[in-house]
Symmetry: C2
Subunit: 361 residues, 2 copies
C-alpha cells in the first residue's frame, strides 16, 4: 500500500487511523452485520452514530445548548442561498469580499435582496484581509457575512470583523476545527466537511436558535429551511449517512489528539515550518501579506510559471501531491489541514530546499 | 465477520463485492496513494471515476445523448422543489398521488404554482395504483409528476400513465435500475441512490436536454438550476465524490450481472418467492392489490399487531433485519432491491413458514 503526502485543498487528506477503521468496518459495523452505508437512517444503531457525532462535535468546539448543529447537503454553495432565504428578513445584508467564495456568497445574496459590499480586497487580487473594525454596515442589515479562511488565496481573518451588533454569518469551510473558537460570538457558522473534518457531501451548520425563522422568504424549498432540519435533528430526510459517520470518526480522532488547542499548536508548527523557509528562500516567496497568512493554505511561487510547473511535477514524482495553485492565482498551494502530519510538511520543505539548491546552485 | 440479510427500505443492502473493493481501496485507490475520499474533485484521477460512472450508467440504462445525467445532492426531497423551480413555467403541473413521497412532491409543488391532483389512491391507504390512462390533465400543465414505485406501500405502476403529451417527471428512487426502461418516454427521472444503487447523499437526475431552462422561477438558487450542473457535468461545486464512486462500482457490478434484463429476471424471481408464499399462507397476507405489487418492496402482515411485532423480533434474532413496516402502514415490509441475493429471500420464506407452523400448528 502506497500513501502520498496529499496537499489537496479539498477534498483533502484524512487521518490514516480513520480510514483504517472505516475499511475494517466496511462489511460489518460493530457486529451489526452491515456496512454503515447499508443502514436505515431510522435505525437505532445509526441514530447512535449521528448523535455521537453531534455530541463529540459539541464537546470539541464548545458549542452551547442554544446553538443547533445541523448536518446538511449541498455544500457551502447551497448555504450561499440558504443563508439569505432564512435570514434576510429586511432584504438587506452586508458582505465582506476576500476571495472567490466570499464573492460567490455575495452574488447569491443579490438574488434575495440588497447585498452590500462593506469591505473588499479585490484591488490586490485578495492578497490581504481588509481592516474590518469600522465598517459602514447598514442599520437595517440582517447580518454580516464573511469567509474566515480564504482557501484559494491563503489568507485568514486573525481579528474578527466588528459586526456592530449584527449577527456574524461565517463560512469556515477551510479552517473550522483547526483551532479553538468562541461559538457565542457568531450567529451562524457553516463549513463543508471535505477540507478539515470529513469527506465531501456534508456541510455542518451551527446556528443560534433564535435566528432560525418560522417563516422564510417566499419560494424557499422545505429542504432549505433551517427549521426543517433543526426540528428533525438532521433526520428530516435521508442524510448523507456515511459521510456523517466518517466526520464522527474525525471528531473522535480530534478529541484523542487533545482537542482544538492541541490542533492549533500543531497547525501553527506546521505552517511555521513552511513560512519560515519561504521567508528565507531566494527562489520561492509567499503570496500574501504576512499578518494575514492562513495556517491551512500556504500559497507561494517562484514568479516563473515554467519553473513552478516543473516544481509541481517533480514534487508529485517525489510523493508530494496536489501542490498546484488555483488557476486565478497560479504558483503553488500547500493545504495543510488537521490531518496533514508534521512529517509531511518537514519533508516537503526538505524537498523545496533541494529544489532551490538545484536551481540556484 | 458477520453479515445479516438486510431488508431495509433505504439506505439498503449493497453488493458485498462492491463493499469489499471499497474496503480494499480505502487507503490507496489504484496506486494513487490516497483514498477516493481524499481526492480533489478537479484531479484527473477523480475525473475518470465520475466520467466512468456516468458512461456505465448510460450503457446500463440506455440513456440517449440528448439526455443529461446529473449526480446531485439533497435527495429526492430537494428534487420535489427543484422540479417546479425549473419546469413550472406556466405555474401549473399535474400530480398523481400514490403514497407519502408522491404527496410530498405535490405539496412542495404548491409552493411554486398550481399543483393539480389528477389521480389518487389515498381513499384506500394507497393500496393500489389508480387508472391513469385518461386523466384530466390541464392543457397548460408543464408536466405530469408521479412516483413509479411506492416504497412505503409496496405498489408499482406497471402501466405508464398517459401524459397526453406533457413531459413525464418521475420519482424512481426505489425502482431505478431494477429492470430495463425506455428513457425516451420520460422528460425527467430522478432517483436517490440509497435504495437500489449506492449510499445516501447522491440523487441521480436524467433530464431531456430541451427541458433544461435558461431561466428558472425567480428566487431559484444557483445550485438548484439544472443548467448549473448540466453545464459543469456535475462538477459545478464539490460533488458527493465518494458516494458517486460507490455508485460507479454498483453500475459496474450491474453490468457484470448481465445488465437490467438480468436484474429484472432476478428481481421477479425473488419477489415471486415471497408473493407465492403469501398467496398460500393462512397467517400472513400481502397488503396491496395483486396487479399493482412492487418487485422491490413487499408489504405484508398478519393483521395482529402483537404477532407482527413478535415476527419482526424473532426474524431479527435469526439474521433477517429491518423487516418492520412503515409507521403509517404497520405490519412488515421486505425490501428486496438489486443487491439482495435470492438466497436471502428463500431463507426468509423458510423462516416465515416455520413461524407460521409454530403459530398455526
Amino acid at each position: 500500500m502506497k500513501r502520498v503526502y496529499n496537499f489537496s485543498a479539498g477534498p483533502a487528506v484524512l487521518p490514516e487511523a480513520v480510514l483504517k477503521e472505516a475499511a475494517d468496518e466496511m462489511l460489518d459495523f460493530a457486529g451489526s452485520g452491515m456496512s454503515v452505508m447499508e443502514m436505515s437512517h431510522r435505525s437505532k444503531i445509526y441514530d447512535e452514530i449521528i448523535k455521537e457525532a453531534e455530541s463529540n462535535l459539541r464537546r470539541l468546539a464548545g458549542i452551547p445548548a442554544e446553538y443547533k448543529v445541523l448536518f446538511l447537503q449541498g455544500g457551502a454553495n447551497l448555504q450561499f442561498a440558504m443563508v439569505p432565504m432564512n435570514l434576510m428578513k429586511n432584504k438587506k445584508a452586508a458582505y465582506i469580499i476576500t476571495g472567490e467564495w466570499a464573492k460567490k456568497a455575495w452574488q447569491e445574496g443579490q438574488i434575495y435582496g440588497e447585498a452590500v459590499v462593506v469591505a473588499s480586497s479585490a484591488d490586490d487580487n485578495f492578497s490581504y484581509i481588509p481592516d474590518c473594525q469600522d465598517l459602514a454596515i447598514p442599520a437595517d442589515a440582517d447580518y454580516l457575512h464573511y469567509c474566515e479562511n480564504n482557501t484559494i488565496y491563503g489568507t485568514k481573518f486573525w481579528q474578527m470583523p466588528n459586526g456592530k451588533g449584527k449577527p456574524l454569518v461565517v463560512d469556515m469551510s477551510s479552517c473550522f476545527l483547526s483551532e479553538p473558537l468562541d461559538i457565542t460570538k457568531y450567529g451562524l457558522i457553516y463549513a463543508g466537511a471535505q477540507k478539515n473534518f470529513g469527506p465531501a457531501g456534508v456541510v455542518t451548520v451551527i446556528i443560534r436558535e433564535d435566528l432560525i425563522p418560522e417563516v422564510c422568504l417566499p419560494g424557499t424549498p422545505t429542504m432549505m429551511r433551517y427549521k426543517t432540519h433543526a426540528d428533525a435533528a438532521s433526520l428530516y430526510n435521508t442524510p448523507p449517512a456515511y459521510s456523517i459517520y466518517i466526520c464522527g470518526k474525525v471528531f473522535t480522532w480530534l478529541l484523542a489528539q487533545g482537542g482544538l488547542g492541541a490542533m492549533k499548536e500543531k497547525n501553527e508548527k506546521k505552517a511555521g515550518v513552511i513560512y519560515n523557509y519561504l521567508d528565507k528562500s531566494t527562489l520561492f516567496k509567499g503570496n500574501v501579506r504576512r499578518s494575514d497568512r492562513s495556517l491551512m493554505n500556504v500559497c507561494f511561487g517562484s514568479g516563473n510559471t515554467a519553473l513552478d510547473e516543473r516544481f509541481v511535477n517533480e514534487a508529485k514524482a517525489a510523493g508530494f501531491d496536489n501542490l498546484k495553485g488555483y488557476r486565478t492565482v497560479g504558483g503553488m498551494r500547500a493545504s495543510i489541514y488537521n490531518a496533514m502530519p508534521i512529517a509531511g510538511v518537514e519533508k516537503l520543505v526538505d524537498f523545496m530546499e533541494g529544489f532551490e539548491k538545484k536551481i540556484k546552485g
